[in-house]
Symmetry: C2
Subunit: 366 residues, 2 copies
């Protein structure tokens, strides 16, 4: 990853905005710009912030616990510790760096911290400026080297799915399968799951975000598995739903409808169309069949360093897709008391269409 090139882009944006520096607190943005991979244990427990001045080297500010990791991973930055807290360190560093105007990430800074930062800076004659989407706008278009990493992440995720799929037996519980999935991911080299795996049987699959429980897999009913992993810093995300045992007519009808909607969504994707248009293409199929009320979430989301990032494929996104964006396409139909079916693949937006990153076809076309 060419971190210097990315820092250069940020510095160019700072010049355009007439800012002397920016404080990057969002963990995926931080990792994107310098390679430092520590997550935050909640927004109130930062593992560090990246201070990018308009010229010169970036500074990774962190605490004692992360020093060795920061030095090892963020080779292009200087690592500085804040034993007395971030504000105390900034009070020393910002004047030394000649900063008179400081941007911060409005979408990943707490209201309380923003207030303290603004007060502290005002006392030093420094203006603070909330910024939205500055780094996210860079991340949204993936470099080909990033797409290669996402492809590898998708491939490994599929290999894990296929290994687990063959091992499902009538005595398996949801939680057995979730554990097997996450263990297999880590044994095969994933950093971690990219989210808590969803394994939901029967009517429990009607919860789009079901939590796996000590519940045996029900015969001849929907089994939904939504899983993803992080490999070399990049996320994957895939959902497969199938009838464990025999699929009845109702299962087949709904499954085929969801698949049809997914294909319609995928076929509508190319650079230049809006997220709204793609969402609509899939949603129309489901609505026309009378299940519009049962598809209550957006069609898809961007995936990269973060599992959920821009762009959204939703009725509210009127921005146009661009080549190099990576999104999920995941329509679903959820019927309380019966269950749910969701099918999810990932694609790369290209000028003339899209490239499907998945090759697993388990139960897709039935």
């Amino acid at each position: 990853m060419d971190y210097q090139k990315r820092i250069n882009k940020v510095q160019a944006a700072l010049r355009r905005k007439k800012l002397d520096a920016i404080l990057i607190s969002e963990p995926a943005n931080r990792r994107y710009l310098c390679g430092y991979s520590a997550p935050d244990h909640g927004i109130g427990e930062s593992s560090g912030v990246l201070l990018v001045p308009v010229a010169g080297q970036a500074h990774l500010l962190t605490d004692f616990r992360f020093q060795l990791q920061a030095e090892a991973e963020a080779a292009l930055t200087t690592v500085t510790l804040y034993p007395k807290g971030l504000l105390a360190l900034l009070k020393e560093m910002l004047p030394d760096l000649g900063v008179r105007s400081l941007g911060f990430e409005s979408d990943y800074t707490l209201h309380s911290f923003a207030g303290k930062l603004t007060d502290k800076c005002a006392g030093l004659g420094i203006k603070t400026v909330p910024l939205v989407g500055l780094i996210e706008d860079l991340r949204i278009i993936k470099e080909e080297s990033e797409i290669d990493k996402i492809r590898a992440s998708v491939r490994l995720n599929e290999q894990v799915f296929q290994e687990i799929y063959t091992e499902i037996h009538p005595k398996s519980t949801e939680i057995d399968l979730a554990i097997a999935i996450e263990t297999c991911m880590r044994r095969r080299g994933a950093e971690s799951p990219s989210f808590n795996s969803i394994v939901a049987t029967g009517s429990r699959s009607a919860l789009p975000h079901a939590v796996p429980g000590p519940v045996q897999i029900l015969q001849n009913q929907p089994l939904m598995i939504d899983m993803g992993l992080i490999l070399d810093g990049y996320c994957s995300d895939m959902t497969r739903t199938f009838a464990f045992g025999n699929a009845d007519a109702r299962y087949l009808e709904i499954h085929r409808l969801v698949r049809k909607a997914q294909l319609a969504g995928i076929q509508s994707i190319r650079a230049g169309v809006t997220g709204q248009t793609v969402d609509q293409a899939a949603r129309d199929i489901i609505a026309k069949a009378g299940y519009g009320q049962n598809f209550g979430h957006a069609l898809g989301h961007g995936v990269g360093i973060a599992i959920h990032e821009a762009p959204r494929l939703s009725s509210r996104n009127r921005k146009r897709l661009k080549s190099g964006m990576v999104v999920t396409v995941e329509p679903g139909i959820y019927i309380p008391g019966w269950g749910g079916i969701r099918l999810e693949n990932m694609v790369v937006v290209r000028e003339d269409g899209c490239e499907i990153l998945n090759s697993d076809t388990t139960w897709l076309d039935i």
Copy 2:
């Protein structure tokens, strides 16, 4: 859990502050007040907010994906969905509820959302008021029924540790052990680990927050295991360090010093002493032996629904401990190139001392 009693306390606080309602966005606060257990997938991806008016029932506002879970778990609240987003729903609900002043959690609200909320409310003639610590101040003192749950969480965590400890062999890798720990937790009924388990061998244990890697456990060197789980909504947290194989003189010296510091910390805990005093009691032992620079973090932190919560046992906490608080006591000495030793137990603060929640004594007194 008596959720109604907790809501009553919040409503009493609202009356004192002359507020008509509060918006609770912090997931542990939300769970504490209504039982809804969904975590947030990052602060930008809320699983819902709890709107508590100064009188009457609380309202859990969430989206389609979490509806069934919210209805099942938060029995005392009304569940309302926001298909057009939270702000659009609040625009309808707040006037209906007669709200003229609305508190929000400054420590768990994004700067960007706080701005939008304030603008939207201003348009409706509603004043927004940032609040800090209102629910946290309730959570900090545990009810005895909560302490029972924490005790059960600690006990299960120790059982998992003991099971894994007996299975460590010379070919085990850090990541093998981390997987074994987390699998065992879930098989034995934990909701999940309470944080990513730390398993660090040899010099890698000098990173207080080491990430387990595909690295074989080194003979006759420190092996640090820091692990915790969530059981029935409550967290546990424990660190054991031992020499896998034989401990040399240096290992023994440092281990005994850390244990001495831990005991000094524990012995200083009672209602009425400050977090600073307790931190100092342990730190003095380490500093006098010449390792002050190698103990770079605070002595401990509160544990409850969240793995890290108030109060901190740190040099910066001048508040007095109270009976019913639950904290970790976890001094450590970290020597780059050699390794680190940290020992962590959990205790309940009582009027006349503290109650140690741990019973595992593996390698504590050597």
